[in-house]
Structures are given as structure tokens and as C-alpha cells.
């Protein structure tokens, strides 16, 4: 049970923080884990013993000395004075310097037998596993690769073998093949026959998922032959799984060999033809000759412990491979020691991002920025000050978010734009402390100024980073709700939509009756255009758009003051995306929540956001009213980003995008992170990190040296701010940007 098909078939996906920077950090680290080292050491010891056992063995395993190696005890009621001839029974010696593991009742040396047994047991285990692995590769990989009828037949065969209980079949087989006991090859083959099916199923599932991976398709497209595709392209990717199933099968085979030997089917060294010494045979002899009742533990305990120890070694190694295949298993929780080292207050608790003890230090530093932008718009509802988030601790920490200030105002839509890995999701989720370790909030402050809409829920200013679990729980969803990108995975697949509504309502609105909760859920679904009958449905029964709508309905059910929308429409088709955006804006107008809208699609953001903040490499780089940012960007990066979206009208002309690649957070360039891709980079940009600062009194801020000091601002970055006509959204574009409204017609 150390490997299981489901963990193996799932492609490793980074969890709630889809930061590809961290995903690519997955390098082969197999040998470093203490588990793997322990496993390797154990296996190595047994391997060495198996090879040199016969030379270091003090005696031959069959050597017996009935005179000196057992104690002779007079049978009571015999001997002198009883009238019966003296009769003695043998009593084995416990461990001593002459016999390190004592002797058996047959006056044999236990240590020598253990040493001799190691070889046969290990040999059978490895041989059986090798045969079984070959069989499972043959069956599993060809079933998975060829599919269709081949797959049907081969899968049926392995399913049938999987369903037949292995050991009983083994017992019957071994019993009917009387010569099996003396031929360890035969034993290994018989064990392999009963052991291959499970690995075969695992390999088939994995091959099936690999076969549809693009690189296999690509090899096929380039004209590669079948055999080469399997051997050169597929098999190397299957190595970890083959290794895992090989170890698992070895464990099973050793176990099975010991078991049938214990049953006396493994061939005894004393029978004819003689079998080999093995651990199971030793256990059988001990058990059959009253070693338990006699208390002669040294006779049967060593072989048993050997099985357990070898098994543990194999299992530990397997654990390492499992963690390699499925990195989620490895990303261990925050250990106390690591937490202490990093100075983290909160105990590692799920659903509560740990916060470093000395946070809130940078707040005073960033105070200036806040006051500057405090003048415009309605009162703030969520204030983020100087927030810093790391993944990992100490030396290995990746600074995903650095010193970010953000103010979300009541009833406004704040757009957060940036490419993957820019830290936009991390920033938003850290603010409500939803990130898992190894994410750590190392600095900053998040203030939530709560004025519950319905009067229920906590009010007043809440320090999110200092809040305890109960406060957070009360704030979450009721006041701040979240919609994630992948609606597919955001709904619990095995619970109906209605039940998920109900669970949430029961917690936050405990006074509501069951009927009231049901009615409320139905009404919320109707609000987003879903038939309330759908409360009975499960996630898989809804289309992608419907699932996302259901999530939005759920997120709005408690009339939150803030909604965090993390790429809510990215996975959807354009039409559905547009419909959902319309609904969101309509609902925002009706319900008055503030929204933090995260997306990589700046062109979309311009249409719906009041204000836009642009992130790059973990820092906020520019913040401005949406129209101003799009029509008159001040930051070279923003300027480049805007020109990455081909227009829908007008002359088609060549556009150049931004040269270079997005930065690697683990190896950021010195100075401004954008400088290697920036056409206007100054000398200063290569040395000093620019900080976000207001731009000569306007409502916009930018982190760029071009706008500081005496630098000449390029014309592209100095266009006049557009004139804001209405409160929000609609803008009179200056100059040549005015284009006739697009006409849809026949």
C-alpha cells in the first residue's frame, strides 16, 4: 500500500498558489531526504550481508554440536532413583559470546542461519520482483500505449489477477508444485505470477496519461516509430513508478516467500531435495519446536526482525520515490524548528498563513504612501501596507511579494494585473491569510475596516495578520469572500451544490432554519442565472461557466464587503467570460461590495476596473485609475504590456511585445527587476530598486527611475492623462485613440 495508482496518475500540480517559479524548483532531491538515506543504509547492509554472509558466518548453518551447543536437562521422573533410565531433553543457549544469537534446540548456531538465510530471502525477493516488474511493464505499458482492444484484454487479465487473493493462490500453487520448495527460481516465478497485476494497473494508468501528453504526440508527428517512442520517450518518464513498484513488489515477494516457508512449503534444508535456509524456514522451525512456549525468543525473533527491518528499508525508499513523484507529499508542514528559526508566531495551522513575529515593522516606512493616496475616492475597506511574503525559510526563501501597499475602497473594483509569478495571487491570498506554508508573511500589515452590510459579523478595524483563528473564520466569506480561477476544483466534487451552500450558511448564519437556508441558496443561484433546481446537482454535472456562476453566487450569499476575484474568468470561453463579467458588475452596482480583481489580461481589466495596480516580480510597479493607466501609462512595463494585446480594429500592423522573458524570482536582476527588458533603462535602474511613489501630486503612483530626478521622460510615457467624464469606466479617449464604436450588424 505504499504506492497507489491515484497519486501516481495525478499530474503534480501546485496547489492554491500557481506560481510556476516554485513548480520548476522541483529538482531531483531524492538522496537528500533522511528517510531515503535510512532506507538506503538498511538495504545496503542487507545487501552486503547477503553477499559476504557465507564468509563472515562463524559456523555452517547446518553444523550441529549436540554435546556442547545445547544444555541437557534431565526429564523429571527419569534418571537415578526413579527406576527409569536417565533421559535428557535439549535446551538451547541464549545469546552468548560463543553464539551471538544463541543456539537452536537442534544445537545449531542461530547467527549462522540468519546470515545464510539473508542470501536466499533477498535473492527470491529481488528475482520475483524483477520478473513481476517485467511482466507489469509488458502488460501495463502496452495496454496503456496501444489502448483499444489490446487494452481491454490486457486490463481484464490484470484485473482478474488483481482480484484473486495472492497468498492463498500462492499456497495452492506451491503446494501443487512439490518441487518448488527446493528451487528458489520456481518459488520466485510463482510469487511473481501472483504479484505483477497491481504494478501493471499502476503502470497502465500512468502510460495512459503519458500517451496523451503532447511530447508523445510530438514524437509521433515527427515520424518516430512506435518502439522508439515507448523505449526512448515513455519509459524514462516511467522510471520512478517502475522503481516504486519494483520496491513494493520486492517487499511483497519477501513477505510471500517467508509466509510460504513458514507454512512449510518453501522447502526445508533437511528435506530432499534440500531447500535453502531462509527467514521463513527459521521462523517455522522455531514455531514448530515450541520456541514460543519455551521463551527462546533468540531463535525466531532475529529472522522476523530482519523481515521487518528490510521491509522498513524498502518502504522508506519507496516513500522517497512517492515524494519525488508527488511533490505535495514532500512540501512538509512548517516544523517547529523551522518556525522558530524564522521567528514565526503562529503555529503552522491549515488555513492560516504563518506570520513572522517581527511583522508590521515596515508599516511606518510605507505610511507616507498610504496618506498620499488616501485623498481620493470613498473610504478604504481593505488596507495592505508593506506586505512581504516568502516561500520557504531562511536561505532558500523566495521573495514572492515584496513591500506591497494596496488600498481597496468601498464599492470599487481594484484591478491587479501581472504575469504568472508576479505575485498577484500571493498578495491577495496572503492578505486574508489563506496561503499554506511554506508561504510565510514576513512583514507588513493588513487592516480590514469592517462595516457589515446586514449588521451581522464582526465590525470595526481588524488587523488580519494578528487575528486569531476564530476572528479570521468570522471575517472570511461573511465579509471577505474569494472566487478562484479554477471553478472546476473550487467546488467539492462529492457534495451537492446545495449542501455546500448549506455548510457555509450554517456556520455564518446559525439562526437560519433549514428551509430558510435552502430558500436563500436557491435565491442566490437565481441571482446569477442558474435554476434553483441545480442545488441538487454536483459540480461535475455543471458546465464550466455554471460552476463559476455557482461559486460567485456562493461568494455573494453573505453580502460580503470585499470580494477577491482571482482570475475568475480566465479558464472560460469569451462569451461566458463576458456574461459573468456583466453579472459581476451588475451585482456590484446592486450590492456595493468592493472587488479585488486579479488577472493577467490587462485589456479585460480596463473594461471593468476603477483603478489598476500592475505587479512585476513581486512588487507593485504602477497604480493609477484604469483609463489613465491604459491610455497614458507611466511605467515602461505597463506600456509594453498594453501593446501586447493586438487591437480588434483598424490597420493591422506589426507589434513587438516585450523582449526577453519574465524574471525568475530566485535569480532577480539587480536594481529594477524589469531593467533587462526595458528599452529606456538608465544606469541607475541597474543598481537601485525603485519604490512606488506618487507622481507629482496626481492620483497615480509609479516605481520607475525615469520619473524621478532629472531623467528625461520618453514621450510614450508622458502622454496626458485622459479626462475622466463619468465616475467610472467610461472615458473620453484623447486624440487618435478615439475610434468609432464597433458595430455589430448584418
Amino acid at each position: 500500500m505504499t504506492i497507489d495508482s491515484t497519486t501516481l496518475t495525478q499530474a503534480p500540480v501546485a496547489g492554491p498558489t500557481p506560481e510556476p517559479i516554485l513548480r520548476t524548483a522541483r529538482i531531483v532531491r531524492l538522496p537528500r531526504s533522511p528517510k531515503v538515506i535510512a532506507g538506503l543504509v538498511i538495504l545496503a547492509v542487507f545487501g552486503v550481508v547477503a553477499i559476504i554472509g557465507r564468509w563472515i558466518s562463524p559456523y555452517s548453518p547446518n553444523q550441529t554440536d549436540p554435546q556442547n551447543w545445547v544444555q541437557h536437562v534431565l526429564v523429571p521422573g527419569t534418571g537415578p532413583g526413579t527406576g527409569f533410565p536417565a533421559n535428557y531433553y535439549p535446551l538451547p543457549f541464549p545469546p552468548s559470546s560463543a553464539h551471538w544469537l544463541g543456539t537452536t534446540v537442534f544445537a545449531q548456531d542461530v547467527l549462522s542461519q540468519v546470515l545464510a538465510s539473508t542470501q536466499a530471502t533477498l535473492f527470491v525477493g529481488l528475482l520475483a520482483a524483477a520478473i513481476a516488474t517485467c511482466l507489469s511493464i509488458l502488460f501495463g505499458v502496452s495496454a496503456g500505449y496501444f489502448g483499444g482492444g489490446t487494452d481491454e484484454v490486457l486490463s481484464l487479465v490484470s484485473n482478474v489477477f488483481l482480484a484473486i487473493p495472492g497468498l492463498p493462490l500462492l499456497i495452492v500453487l506451491a503446494d501443487y508444485v512439490p518441487t518448488a520448495g527446493s528451487s528458489i527460481f520456481l518459488v520466485a516465478i510463482i510469487i511473481a505470477v501472483t504479484a505483477w497485476a497491481y504494478s501493471s494497473r499502476v503502470l497502465r494508468a500512468q502510460t495512459l496519461s503519458l500517451r496523451n501528453r503532447d511530447f508523445v504526440e510530438a514524437a509521433r508527428v515527427s515520424g518516430e516509430g512506435r518502439i522508439r517512442i515507448i523505449v526512448v520517450e515513455l519509459l524514462p518518464n516511467l522510471i520512478p513508478i517502475v522503481a516504486a513498484s519494483f520496491l513494493f513488489t520486492t517487499l511483497y515477494a519477501i513477505y510471500a516467500y517467508v509466509a510460504i516457508a513458514f507454512l512449510g512449503l518453501g522447502g526445508s534444508p533437511t528435506s530432499s531435495p534440500p531447500g535453502l535456509w531462509n527467514w521463513g524456514e527459521m521462523l517455522r522451525e522455531g514455531f514448530a519446536n515450541n520456541a514460543i512456549r519455551g521463551g527462546w525468543w533468540w531463535w525466531w525473533a532475529p529472522p522476523g526482525l530482519c523481515v521487518a527491518l528490510l521491509g522498513t528499508g524498502l518502504a522508506l525508499l519507496n516513500f522517497g520515490i512517492d515524494e519525488f513523484i508527488n511533490p505535495r507529499l514532500r512540501a512538509a508542514g512548517l516544523t517547529r524548528r523551522a518556525a522558530k528559526k524564522a521567528g514565526i508566531v503562529s503555529r503552522a495551522k491549515l488555513g492560516m498563513t504563518p506570520v513572522a513575529a517581527h511583522h508590521a515593522q515596515a508599516v511606518s516606512r510605507s505610511q507616507a504612501g498610504i496618506t498620499a493616496s488616501r485623498e481620493v475616492g470613498p473610504e478604504p475597506v481593505l488596507e495592505i501596507r508593506g506586505l512581504c511574503v516568502d516561500y520557504g525559510y531562511g536561505e532558500e526563501a523566495v521573495h514572492a511579494v515584496v513591500d506591497c501597499d494596496l488600498v481597496l475602497r468601498r464599492g470599487r473594483v481594484l484591478g491587479l494585473a501581472g504575469e504568472s509569478g508576479s505575485g498577484k495571487t500571493t498578495l491577495a491570498l496572503a492578505a486574508i491569510r489563506l496561503l499554506r506554508s511554506p508561504a510565510v508573511i514576513t512583514d507588513g500589515q493588513v487592516l480590514f475596516h469592517s462595516k457589515p452590510v446586514g449588521g451581522e459579523g464582526p465590525s470595526g478595524t481588524i488587523d488580519m495578520l494578528a487575528a486569531d483563528a476564530d476572528t479570521l473564520r468570522a471575517v472570511r466569506w461573511s465579509e471577505i469572500s474569494v472566487v478562484l480561477q479554477s471553478s472546476m476544483n473550487a467546488l467539492n466534487p462529492v457534495i451537492s451544490i446545495g449542501a455546500q451552500f448549506d455548510d457555509m450558511l450554517r456556520v455564518h448564519r446559525p439562526h437560519l432554519s433549514r428551509t430558510a437556508r435552502h430558500e436563500m441558496s436557491g435565491a442566490m443561484l437565481e441571482l446569477v442565472g442558474i435554476n434553483p433546481d441545480r442545488l441538487r446537482s454536483y459540480a461535475h454535472e455543471l458546465s464550466g461557466g455554471m460552476r463559476q456562476r455557482a461559486m460567485i453566487a456562493m461568494a455573494l450569499a453573505l453580502e460580503p464587503q470585499v470580494m477577491i476575484l482571482d482570475e475568475p474568468t480566465t479558464a472560460l470561453d469569451v462569451v461566458t467570460q463576458r456574461e459573468i463579467l456583466e453579472e459581476l458588475i451588475g451585482l456590484r452596482d446592486r450590492l456595493g461590495f468592493a472587488a479585488l480583481f486579479i488577472t493577467h489580461d490587462l485589456s479585460l481589466l480596463v473594461e471593468i476596473a476603477d483603478e489598476i495596480a500592475v505587479m512585476y516580480a513581486g512588487r507593485l510597479m504602477e497604480r493609477a485609475p484604469a483609463a489613465a493607466l491604459f491610455n497614458a501609462p507611466r511605467l515602461p512595463y505597463t506600456h509594453g504590456l498594453i501593446h501586447c494585446f493586438p487591437p480588434m480594429h483598424g490597420q493591422r500592423s506589426r507589434m513587438d511585445g516585450i523582449p526577453g522573458s519574465p524574471p525568475d524570482l530566485r535569480a532577480l536582476p539587480k536594481g529594477c527587476a524589469f531593467n533587462p527588458r526595458c528599452a529606456w533603462a538608465l544606469d541607475q535602474c541597474r543598481h537601485d530598486v525603485p519604490h512606488l511613489a506618487p507622481l507629482n501630486g496626481s492620483a497615480r503612483e509609479v516605481a520607475c527611475w525615469l520619473h524621478r530626478g532629472d531623467a528625461k521622460v520618453p514621450a510614450e510615457l508622458a502622454r496626458p492623462d485622459p479626462v475622466i467624464v463619468a465616475e467610472r469606466g467610461s472615458v473620453a479617449p484623447p486624440g487618435n485613440l478615439a475610434r468609432p464604436p464597433h458595430e455589430v450588424g448584418r
Binding site: 510556476p20 520548476t24 522541483r26 501528453r213 503532447d214 511530447f215 504526440e217 510530438a218 514524437a219 509521433r220 508527428v221 515527427s222 515520424g223 518516430e224 520517450e233 524514462p236 518518464n237 504575469e419 504568472s420 458546465s543 455554471m546 470561453d573 469569451v574 462569451v575 461566458t576 467570460q577 463576458r578 456574461e579 456583466e582 458588475i585 493577467h600 489580461d601 490587462l602 485589456s603 480596463v606 473594461e607 509594453g640 504590456l641 501586447c644 494585446f645 493586438p646 487591437p647 480588434m648 480594429h649 493591422r652 513587438d656 511585445g657 516585450i658 523582449p659 522573458s661 519574465p662 527588458r677 467610461s730 479617449p733 475610434r739 464604436p741 464597433h742 455589430v744 450588424g745 448584418r746
Partner: protein, 349 residues
């Protein structure tokens, strides 16, 4: 070669899939009408974009043209001649493909060099000097200097670099046709244009015939000479790209355009034809768009619309563009036999 013969052409391609429903040990299979009588032509030195929502059958058409899968009906013609059955290397040498996900299309256990060397070896393209050929390929996709890339594993490259390697691999055999299936949708916004421009350069310099599959109509307009719009497995409109985006003739194309993000838009768009694409295991009769179409007529429910040429090279499959009289005649002809099916149809709803 005559300009009238397309390099690669798909005629009336039709494909069904058997899709597993449910999961775990308990699953069954149902047929899905993925692609229905789709015809596409690719010309040398031109980019044809195939646009549609997910599930519209774009990728299936691409894979049919690349002959990764076989059509259930219809033909693939290479330079006017039926493509050989199976997928011989001679076909691979002329038609190549670039996949959507650069994280998946390169084998994680092999270096960049392996990915480029294999096609060179298979098709004997290297002329003895493999390393020079590899370096040349990397240079063609602007991965310079090549020496920095040959020894790298895919996970050491950024998304854009990977996609360039994938394109280089496709170019290795000096194909005449390149089929690019959503080549930029998985890439970061800032590097998408770079890859699109690379494709445009290949079209211009090497006279490649390119099929650009995408869901992003703005990028199709940017790159393609011709845009083909698909809906629910069928073609709905084909036109030169400017003509299609400026004067869309099919209600679905209009819907698609009005939904696309457009920062220059003064007013929020008005969507005509909300809703979701139909299930392809039981597609609607007649025009597959009719349940959503704001202009749907009776005939749309019953008869598959004909392809109407509105302009040079501008073709739409829509009854709205059929002369009313002709439409009536068609309808009358159909009513005699189709009365019964219509009733069934209405009962189903």
C-alpha cells in the same frame, strides 16, 4: 505550383469520439460528434486561423490535418493528392505540428538537443553535421547563442523558450505546412507576440502554410490572412481576417466579436445569443447554433444551413444569407418530409 492548389486541404472532415463518462472502475463510453463536415485549405505563405470556443473541434481539425487521428469521413489532400493512409514519414516530412502546452510538448527527461536531433535523423536532414543543423534550427527560432540551449533540459527553459524549441523541432524536417495548436495560449502575455511574430516571419521567409488554431480572435486577426470560425464541430464562417472582424456575417461570429475584450470599446457590449455550446453527444438538429441564435427561424431548426459566398472568399453558413424565396422553397421541400421530426424535436424540449 499553381496558386489555386492548396498545399494542404481537408474536405468534409468528420470525426466521432467515444468518450468515457464517469470515473473509477465504473465508466462507460458515449459517442461525441466532435467535427462534422469541415473543409479547410492551407496555402503556401499564408496563415489560416481556426477560431472557436473550447470544444468547438478546432484541435480535432488540427489533429486530423496532421493525421494524428484518422477522420471517420472526408479526405485530407496534400498538394491536391489524397494523403497516404497511415502516417508515413513522407507525410511527417511535409506536415508538422506545434502543440499548445510547451510544458508538456517537450519530454522532461531529454535535453533540447535530443528533441531537435531526432527529427533530423529520422528524415536524414542533417547532411552529416548534426550539431551544425541543430545550431541552425535554434538560430531560426531566435534562440541565440545556440550553444546556450542545446544542453538544457526543458524545465530549465522559460515557457517562451520552450515553445520556440517546439517550433524548431517542427521546422527540422523543413515542412511545407505547420499546424500550430494554440501555440501562445499557455504563454505569458508579454512574450506571446514574440512567438506570433516568429510564426509570421516563417510564413513570409519560408513560404510555410500555417494553420493557427486559437480561441483569441484578436490574435487571429493580428496573425492570420484568413480566419475560419468553428462552432460545435461545424464551420460557420470563413473570410479574410480584416473582412471577418469588420463585417462578421454569422450571428455566432458577431457574438464572439462582441464578447472579446476590447479596451477601446466605449460602451459595454450587448451580447446576442447568450448561453453555452450544446452537448456534442446529442447536437441540435439543423444549424447547431439555432438554440442560441437571436435570429433563428424555423428552417434553422430543421436544415443544416448551406455555405453562402457573400463576397470573394467570404463564406458564411447561415440561412439569413439565403435569399428568402429560395429559403421558402427549401423549407417547403422539407416540410413534406420533416413534419414528424419537428414534432419529436419539440417534444424533447
Amino acid at each position: 505550383m499553381s496558386a489555386n492548389v492548396p498545399v494542404l486541404e481537408g474536405r468534409d472532415l468528420t470525426k466521432y469520439f467515444w468518450v468515457k463518462q464517469g470515473r473509477g472502475p465504473l465508466a462507460r463510453r458515449v459517442p461525441v460528434h466532435a467535427v462534422d463536415r469541415v473543409s479547410v485549405r492551407l496555402d503556401a505563405g499564408k496563415v489560416t486561423a481556426l477560431v472557436g470556443e473550447s470544444g468547438a473541434g478546432k484541435t480535432t481539425v488540427a489533429r486530423l490535418l496532421a493525421r494524428i487521428i484518422k477522420p471517420d469521413k472526408g479526405d485530407v489532400l496534400l498538394a491536391g493528392r489524397p494523403a497516404p493512409s497511415g502516417r508515413p514519414r513522407s507525410y511527417a516530412a511535409q506536415v508538422q505540428m506545434v502543440f499548445q502546452d510547451p510544458f508538456a510538448s517537450l519530454n522532461p527527461v531529454h535535453q533540447v538537443r535530443h528533441h531537435l536531433v531526432r527529427p533530423l535523423q529520422i528524415h536524414h536532414m542533417a547532411n552529416g553535421n548534426v550539431d551544425a543543423a541543430v545550431a541552425d534550427l535554434l538560430r531560426r527560432v531566435a534562440l541565440k547563442p545556440p550553444g546556450n540551449f542545446t544542453g538544457k533540459f526543458p524545465h530549465e527553459l522559460s515557457g517562451g523558450q520552450r515553445q520556440r524549441v517546439a517550433i524548431a523541432r517542427a521546422l527540422a524536417v523543413r515542412p511545407r505546412v505547420l499546424i500550430a495548436d494554440e501555440p501562445v495560449s499557455m504563454l505569458d502575455v508579454s512574450i506571446r507576440l514574440g512567438v506570433l511574430n516568429l510564426l509570421a516571419d516563417l510564413r513570409d521567409k519560408e513560404q510555410l502554410a500555417l494553420l493557427y488554431v486559437t480561441h483569441d480572435i484578436a490574435s487571429a486577426r493580428y496573425l492570420a490572412d484568413t480566419i475560419v470560425v468553428m462552432y460545435a464541430g461545424q464551420l460557420v464562417e470563413t473570410a479574410p481576417s480584416a473582412s471577418l472582424t469588420d463585417k462578421p456575417a454569422h450571428p455566432y461570429t458577431q457574438l464572439l466579436l462582441s464578447a472579446a475584450p476590447d479596451p477601446d470599446r466605449a460602451q459595454p457590449p450587448h451580447l446576442e445569443g447568450r448561453g453555452a455550446p450544446p452537448s456534442l453527444s446529442a447536437p441540435p438538429s439543423g444549424c447547431r447554433f439555432h438554440p442560441r441564435c437571436p435570429f433563428a427561424m424555423d428552417i434553422c431548426k430543421r436544415q443544416v444551413p448551406p455555405s453562402i459566398a457573400l463576397d470573394t472568399n467570404h463564406i458564411a453558413a447561415c440561412w439569413l444569407h439565403v435569399d428568402p424565396a429560395e429559403r421558402q422553397a427549401n423549407e417547403n421541400g422539407q416540410v413534406l418530409t420533416a413534419g414528424q421530426p419537428l414534432d419529436n424535436e419539440s417534444k424533447k424540449r
